[in-house]
């Protein structure tokens, strides 16, 4: 048993509820000094809520937090940083229009001796993690990996004793991952503790000494990684057998419905593939690998030149979304709040906006027709809303997503692109969406599914393409291969190397 002074962080019985959902339910765990402590759990398990409470973004409802021997009652992000607890978010907390140096010392300009002081001190910090970025460069110009280094330098500038890294590797290339591994090793050597949140189980086993598994707002287990097997970890995370979670895959996959040839953009290289009638085609890859870029290019949402798209053997010209829609494509984008919905507008209007030609005659809107369509989908998709006139911003994430899906279903797409369709949605609603997807595929359409949840994409898809650094690196039948094999292809062939390097920690 470890003594209390061994612990840099001790969390007891933390609870936190948001309207309608209990995010954390009496969570307790502790982190020993100088360790890399992994934190795993599915989306919605509560990891990010817990971290936001620790870093002072949210207040806790109840429970105690003891950090570095001191009890923390209420804190703010800056107080938290000052006391030695740093967090590096997945979305990165930097001001793009300012330089690296200024970002590292944001808010502490005069303390650090003005411009000169800031840049020289930032230089020292960056050098300590072997990072050669010029501190005068604007953050806007940096890659995700470089931005992470800036965040790490920022954490170091507060003489942090505990650094929380939230999904640090989701956008990194192979080489960048090796860099990060080296830095983590270094930080550990300096006595800094790290909480490492990731859904990449390989990394957990490679980097972490101990791992805590969360599920549905509760801590399931905390164990040394050496004493845990992958299977045990997965079943702790999931808590139930996977089979019941997903419907049967669509059965009658037919001939080619859509052909995509030679998409080439700044990020994508020679993307060509086909989509077959009645199938769900999954695209697997890291964040930033290019999956969304591929579908946006197909849909005409981004500029791309020189590629060809054929539907039913006939070439179609798609340079704008409206052309894609007319050709029979549908697109549920990954960011429903910014790109999918018009938040201050009603459920009815959000559903009808994709179908204005259907609810209008000679350019004049027919309110009855609009209401009819909205009612139809509220019923069919079980959208929970007081009325169809309610503003969508007051609906839950799942119901918002259903509104968007309802909008697209009405357009009757033959190829339905869904980018992270179940992100941030509770389990019950997820299953409903899965059933919908199956139905669409079975009606002789096809679905291109992008999802960062490997179990989801593997269980739903008939076929999976792995994307890595803008290229298609593999094609698999999920029923014939293991998740590991697919992941390896999505990570490029480097996963083995990273694994080996990590063993040296």
């Amino acid at each position: 048993m470890s003594t209390i002074s061994d612990e840099i962080l001790s969390v007891k019985d933390i609870s936190k509820a948001f309207p309608g959902v209990k995010a954390l339910d009496n969570v307790s765990f502790s982190v020993r000094r100088g360790t890399v402590h992994g934190l795993v759990g599915e989306n919605g398990a509560g990891k990010s809520t817990l971290m936001k409470i620790l870093s002072g973004v949210y207040p806790k409802d109840s429970g105690t937090i003891i950090f570095d021997g001191k009890k923390i009652e209420s804190t703010t992000p800056i107080k938290s940083m000052n006391s030695g607890l740093a967090i590096i978010y997945q979305e990165l907390n930097l001001v793009n229009s300012l330089s690296v140096g200024e970002n590292v010392f944001l808010g502490r300009f005069s303390q650090m001796g003005g411009m000169r002081g800031i840049h020289s001190k930032a230089r020292v910090l960056l050098d300590s993690i072997d990072c050669r970025i010029d501190t005068h460069r604007l953050v806007d110009e940096l890659s995700v990996s470089e931005k992470q280094m800036v965040e790490i330098a920022k954490a170091l500038s507060f003489e942090s004793k505990l650094i929380i890294m939230d999904e640090p590797s989701s956008s990194l290339t192979c080489d960048e991952m090796k860099e990060l591994a080296k830095i983590i090793r270094q930080l550990k050597g300096q006595g800094i503790s790290i909480i490492y949140i990731s859904h990449k189980l390989d990394e957990i086993f490679d980097f972490c000494d101990i791992v805590t598994i969360m599920r549905d707002g509760q801590i399931i287990d905390t164990k040394a990684t050496a004493e845990l097997t992958r299977g045990e970890m997965i079943s702790d995370m999931v808590g139930r057998t996977i089979e019941n979670e997903y419907p049967e895959r669509p059965q009658n996959v037919g001939e080619t419905l859509m052909e995509v040839k030679s998409i080439n953009t700044r990020k994508l290289h020679n993307i060509s593939f086909e989509v077959r009638k009645g199938e769900i085609l999954g695209l697997v890859g890291l964040v930033g690998a290019g999956r969304t870029e591929i579908v946006r290019a197909i849909f005409g949402a981004d500029k791309a030149r020189g590629h060809e798209i054929k539907l039913d053997g006939k070439t179609v010209i798609i340079r704008k979304p409206i052309q894609a829609i007319n050709a029979g494509l549908g697109f549920v984008s990954e960011d429903r709040k910014l790109q999918g919905l018009v938040l201050p507008f009603s459920v009815e209007q959000n559903i009808s906006m994709g179908n204005l030609d259907k609810v209008a005659k000679h350019g004049v809107l027919r309110r009855a027709a609009e209401k009819e369509i909205a009612d139809k989908y509220v019923r069919a998709l079980n959208i929970k809303t007081p009325t169809i006139k309610t503003k969508v911003q007051s609906l839950s994430g799942g119901n918002q997503q259903k509104c968007i899906i309802g909008r697209w279903l009405e357009t009757g797409p033959r190829v339905f692109i869904m980018d992270e369709p179940t992100r941030g949605i509770d389990v019950g609603a997820k299953y409903e969406i899965y059933m919908l997807m199956k139905e669409i595929a079975e009606k002789e359409g096809a679905i291109i599914l992008i999802s960062s949840e490997l179990p989801e994409v593997l269980n739903m898809s008939n076929r999976v393409l792995t994307i890595f650094e803008g290229r298609i690196t593999g094609e698999f039948d999920p029923q014939m291969v293991s998740a590991d094999q697919v992941m390896e292809s999505a990570l490029g062939l480097c996963s083995l190397e990273v694994h080996e390097r990590a063993q040296e920690i």
Partner: protein, 324 residues
């Protein structure tokens, strides 16, 4: 917590929805009591006549703002259309000149949208400065056309019957210009609330990105709002010079600010996505009535500006606070 906020917002918007109406009613009542001349047919006619030009410009501006943009060039378009139309009466006749003027206004607006679209301008600020620059350009053309002189219609041509009809004519108790306004209002209300393009404009203002991905013709919407704005500015100009039978190359000055204020005070948010021409009518009415009533009450023109500005700041403050 959330319920309290929603209640306050509903009460707030009820209040501010009718704030303008309340203000108008109060203003009218006070003036009626202090200066009964307010209700004289001469004064009411005056109000109707002044209402015409500003209401046209403001109606056009409404759509630009609903679409999430702004148009500062209407002053220039206004002046340019006025002088060009008047100049063309002699050469090509009244009605052709009128049509040419309206087309010119639409063209000016359309050109604005071309500039904005080709530049890939996505924000209201970019549109603000581009249309500001174009205001100078159109205004300069107006000045160049007349050499700075004011064109007196009667001096230039003998045939001004059509315009006289528009400017001075009456049908029953209503002025012709008021009837024109009514027709425009009905058409535009129908356009805004019942047509696909009207809805498209709303959606463009609500969330441009989402609208584009859903297949809404965002670019076309932008062209429509600016072309319409130019056309309405032209109509306003015709309304104005028909009334005073002179066309000055700077006569548009101030219309852009007043139009924006009329729209905003009426209750349409500068953020775009929602709003109504009906609200703009109320806003325009308030602005016109303020001038009229304060005049009758003996307030100097300058104090009028002070009062106007002060009331506007108040109205905007109460109505446009971002959700807490």
């Amino acid at each position: 917590m959330r319920k309290k906020f929603e209640l306050r917002k509903t009460f707030g918007s009820f209040f501010t929805n009718y704030l303008v109406l309340v203000a108008i009613v109060l203003l009218v009542l006070v003036t009626m009591i202090v200066e009964p001349k307010f209700l004289s047919s001469g004064n009411l006619t005056n109000i109707m006549r002044q209402f015409g030009p500003l209401s046209m410009v403001a109606l056009g501006m409404t759509f630009v703002i609903i679409g999430g943009f702004i148009d500062l060039s209407v002053a220039g378009t206004f002046s340019l259309v006025a002088v060009v139309t008047v100049s063309l009466i002699d050469p090509i006749g009244q009605v052709p000149a009128l049509i040419a003027g309206l087309l010119l206004g639409a063209l000016c607006g359309f050109f604005n949208s071309v500039l904005i679209l080709t530049a890939g301008a996505l924000t209201q600020a970019e549109a603000l400065f581009i249309t500001f620059g174009m205001s100078l350009v159109y205004g300069a053309f107006a000045l160049i056309t007349t050499g700075g002189a004011v064109l007196n219609m009667r001096d230039i041509t003998s045939s001004i019957s059509v315009f006289e009809g528009i400017g001075q004519g009456t049908v029953g108790i209503f002025t012709v210009s008021f009837l024109i306004f009514l027709v425009c209002l009905i058409l535009l209300y129908f356009f805004q609330s019942k047509t696909v393009m009207g809805r498209a404009i709303n959606l463009t203002g609500g969330n441009k990105t989402a609208a584009r991905l859903a297949g809404i013709p965002v670019d076309v919407s932008i062209m429509v709002i600016y072309t319409l704005s130019g056309l309405m500015a032209a109509l306003g100009a015709v309304n104005q010079f028909a009334r005073v039978t002179t066309a000055a190359p700077v006569m548009g000055k101030g219309f852009e600010t007043n139009a924006i204020l009329a729209v905003v005070v009426g209750g349409t948010s500068l953020k775009g996505g929602k709003g109504s021409v009906l609200r703009t009518v109320l806003g325009t009415l308030l602005i016109i009535l303020m001038s009229n009533c304060l005049n009758l009450l003996g307030v100097t023109p300058y104090m009028q500006n002070v009062t106007k500005g002060g009331i506007l700041v108040l109205a905007i403050w109460l109505d446009n606070r971002k959700p807490l």
